[in-house]
Symmetry: C2
Subunit: 153 residues, 2 copies
Amino acid sequence: MSNPTRIDPTPSEAIQMAWARLLRAHQVALGLVETRLKDAGLPALEWYDVLLELERQGPLRPRQLQAELLLPQYNLSRLLERMVDAGLLERRPCPDDARGHLVAPTRRGRGVRRRMWPVYAAAIGEAVGERVSEREAAQLAELLGRIAGPRRT
Amino acid sequence: MSNPTRIDPTPSEAIQMAWARLLRAHQVALGLVETRLKDAGLPALEWYDVLLELERQGPLRPRQLQAELLLPQYNLSRLLERMVDAGLLERRPCPDDARGHLVAPTRRGRGVRRRMWPVYAAAIGEAVGERVSEREAAQLAELLGRIAGPRRT
DNA sequence: CCAGTTTCGATGCACTTGCATCAATTTCGT
DNA sequence: ACGAAATTGATGCAAGTGCATCGAAACTGG
């Protein structure tokens, strides 16, 4: 440590600690949330995200969803397939591009998302809300936002 | 909504934002780190964690490792199997419990972990270090530590 | 000491993910 | 307008994950 000709950019202790805790906090918090959803007989969080995004933005093409959710293309392709099979999404022909289609929630899909929210919300409270103050949550959001993006190439 | 007898503990905006950004920051940062490792022809992060834990603590039994890394039992069982097959870990008979065994890094395993570190460290710097100050990193670590645990039943 | 219970670690099976690649379009350069 | 290149979304196959369950060894109360 304290190498004057520092060529090796090893992160400081504080940075390493922040990294380690990011992994752990995510693992623990997400684990709790997914458990609550599963125990309530509801679909996984991923499904919620897709449904919410489509309710907010209206019908989208898979590629756009992919950009929003940062999922690999093949992964999203099959996720949508499963959700369509489950009757939560429907595909619509795409007016100006015959390669693709639009995806939109069905009535049933909206219902499922709505039923997921109370459970999801309670779990967020349990995983995060009970552990940090309002003020701390805002700080946390700011700092994590820095790490989350914006991406530079 | 606006139910006067609010039984439903929907988290505040700040909490929800912190949650959303936790997911996103993790996804982005981990994605970057895993990409750097893979591009360097190195094993996944998980393997590093196992190797590091065993170098720090000495040979451990799978169950102990499981507790440290918070991995599901069946998942760890197969992870160790793969690492043994890859020649990075070896199993040793366990003196006082014939059901299990001890796992320890091989010489080759230690070498792999050592070669992973520079790449890993640089990636942590890129994903986290370049985006927050020293002081902010410490704050972040503190807040995330709150979320990461300690678990109450 | 012995049956019943608990803990440890492995595994069969179904499902999901990662990777490479494909076919069908659309877009671009000329 | 035409052929080359890029984009969109799907898919075969190998590998990883989740769940339930298993056999084996270790504890436990009587």
